[in-house]
Symmetry: C2
Subunit: 417 residues, 2 copies
């Protein structure tokens, strides 16, 4: 029965987590290398199984975008291996002394980073999440329970089997990495009930999936629902930079969470800039929707409704609003934004600092594309997701963010007076 | 109507939070000093109102313990003021650069600590929480909404009015500190619905209050349900130290969350130690309840049931179990404990380190009383609570823990390639 099977997995992970909490850095890094080696050794088998799943998905009429996400080609495969090896080279996120002192009575107190314990990753089809997530979890000493999309069930299972073999060869426990092989929603439902065994869930996928998980469990969830990212072009912005950043933020890739969705143009430069921006967006096949003032300057575009300001298009559409000053720009961003990534283009240090302080978002970009927000450019090495929550982790979720800490006090018979 | 009144408070706090996010350290510290001065100036009025509430509580037949918690005497009052002044002297929890680098393209990236935003504190009667919590929140640049127990409504309102006056005199916004003056459960229910305005709730009180809040809101909650604290006396423990630490952990104060509730004695030293421990506990009027093996050695004590191992007595009762080795001790603690504070008495560095690594608790004490776990001995200055959660904050909740961070990137037209 699937119910008890998921519980057995959760219990096994909890036991593995305890063993992992004592696993030295050298063993965890060796495991990552051996995981990559074991994957290399099943490469042909993996590509064959992946091809079968691609054919099946095509037969079932899945979209081209879905097929593309599902596919492992040689380049993707090499990238997956390189990420595991790269994580192995990152500094150890564990056993960092975060604070500490010796109190007046001689009690030695320190706060050190330790693994969270058991992490559940629930994701849609991209098989590279299987290896990325397992890599970051093992690096940070956590047991991981994977649950990928049903279209890639066999591919993910084989990836996991190889990684388990590598991890065990390095000396990690058998159940440090597990994957739920039972198809269907029921198994996910069971996973959500495993509070007491699972310390945190990280869902990756569409907003609906994430909402279903966050609202259906008592387990803490690290998540972002969407990325309604803004760029505010201040009155004093360099025009060329403003257009360049706006275009790159929107067009470099439209289907990603740090792509631009709403452009705010200061009233003082709107007349000069909006026609330039329109020409550039049109050349990039982006549909614009505007506020009333925008439409006075660009009469041929349709109106943006209240709903537009709340929408993450993930498509070649952009809402445009003229704002009167930085205060109103920040008001708009804090009201309609999702706290993911928001930027300003300005030459004024004062405006940049006000924007930095008062925009309530995980990432604030000053004269830089919103597309630069993420683990890569922030120097995190490898990430398993992005958080727009404020507690625990905000922004990219890398190995450090999969740790908690404990307070340790070494005494010699110390008592409370 | 109370419903809209709570929403207005929440909205005002959100606006104040934005202003606070730009408030310099000097202003926040000045506010703490002026808050203490303003309290000093209403001292007599405060003691009078507090006396009236004490009389009312007595007339209503409240317990002596409740009356004691409600009472502000001269000593309590001076302590409240001293805590505010002490918080002012702590290092700034804001604008700490937590990580950062300049990426290869010259993008300057840093991660800096910022306020959480709006914090709601829901607590039972102790009026010193009113000043302690407001102090830690203002220090960390957060707007705070207080909601104390109904018995101390007038006392807390006057404390808050004085603190508001002090904070405003220092230049902080009017609504940086607010208190909900509407009596009854309905107002708390409304407060729990204020996600979108309130960033985190910190309930302080009994387990029932905390459960009601955590399970009744979508706002993140920083909490601990209970403190089922353990002490494991290893086979090689120094007897005198073991007895001293056990007695201090249990008896120094029984009604607190870091008091000992279950004592685990290694099989190899049980025969020698249990009679000594019993004599010491009996002298301190502690009732012992034991496992089967304990009762073979101490035949006159009643059995500990399965329920006992799950119980935070907060009373002069202690459950005692004989365990065969450190592995089983850790198993017991991780299964029955609440992840608050657990200790070991041992002379072996190997056992101490295994215990430190594998006990999954916020605080791990080596040869020290469980009563030493807390903000004071850990050097945090002032705290608003304790967390047994693993995400965001674990253990004492001080000013640093009331911050989140944002990623800031300064570019000069930087684009994604």
């Amino acid at each position: 029965m699937s119910t008890s099977a998921v519980k057995v997995i959760a219990q096994q992970s909890r036991l593995a987590a305890r063993q992992l909490s004592s696993a030295p850095e050298s063993i965890r890094n060796l495991a990552l290398i051996k995981m990559a080696e074991a994957l290399e050794s099943v490469k042909q088998q993996l590509l064959d199984i992946n091809t079968q799943e691609i054919i099946k998905a095509r037969d079932e009429g899945q979209s081209d975008a879905m097929i593309k996400r599902l596919t492992i080609d040689d380049k993707t495969f090499q990238y997956m291996l390189s990420r595991l090896k790269k994580v192995a080279q990152l500094p150890d996120p564990l056993n960092r002394i975060l604070a500490g002192h010796t109190n007046p009575a001689g009690l030695r107190v320190y706060k050190k980073s330790v693994p969270l314990g058991v992490i559940g990753i629930i994701y849609e089809s991209r098989p590279n999440v299987t290896t990325d997530a397992a890599g970051v979890c093992i690096k940070s000493g956590n047991a991981v329970i994977l649950r990928g999309g049903s279209e890639a069930l066999q591919t993910n299972a084989l990836l996991t089997d190889a990684m388990i073999e590598g991890a065990v060869n390095a000396g990690l426990p058998q159940h440090a990495i597990q994957i739920i092989r039972i198809p269907g929603h029921e198994a996910v439902g069971e996973l959500l009930k495993m509070d007491g065994y699972i310390d945190v869930l990280i869902p990756r996928g569409g907003k609906d999936l994430i909402k279903r998980i966050a609202e259906g469990t008592r387990i803490p969830v690290i998540k972002h629902y969407d990325g309604i990212c803004h760029l505010y072009i201040a009155a004093d912005a360099n025009s060329e930079q403003a257009v360049g950043i706006a275009i790159n933020s929107k067009c470099q890739s439209v289907q990603v969470c740090n792509a631009l969705e709403s452009l705010l143009v200061d009233q003082q430069c709107a007349e000069q800039l909006l026609p330039l921006l329109q020409a550039a967006f049109v050349a990039n096949k982006i549909e614009l929707r505007g506020c009333e003032q925008t439409r006075k300057l660009l009469p041929n575009i349709p109106p943006a409704t209240e709903e537009d300001w709340h929408t993450e298009y993930l498509a070649p559409i952009l809402s445009v609003k003229v704002v009167n000053g930085i205060e109103l720009a920040i008001d708009h961003i804090n009201h309609y934004g999702s706290g993911h990534t928001d930027g300003i283009v300005t030459q004024s240090l004062k405006l940049a600092q006000q924007f930095e302080e008062q925009v309530d978002s995980a990432s604030v970009m000053i004269n830089a594309s919103t597309r630069l927000s993420g683990g890569g450019d922030y120097g995190l090495g490898s990430v398993v997701g992005i958080s727009t929550d404020k507690l625990h982790v905000r922004g990219p979720v890398g190995p450090d963010e999969l740790t908690t800490y404990k307070w340790v006090a070494y005494g010699d018979g110390h008592l409370r007076a």
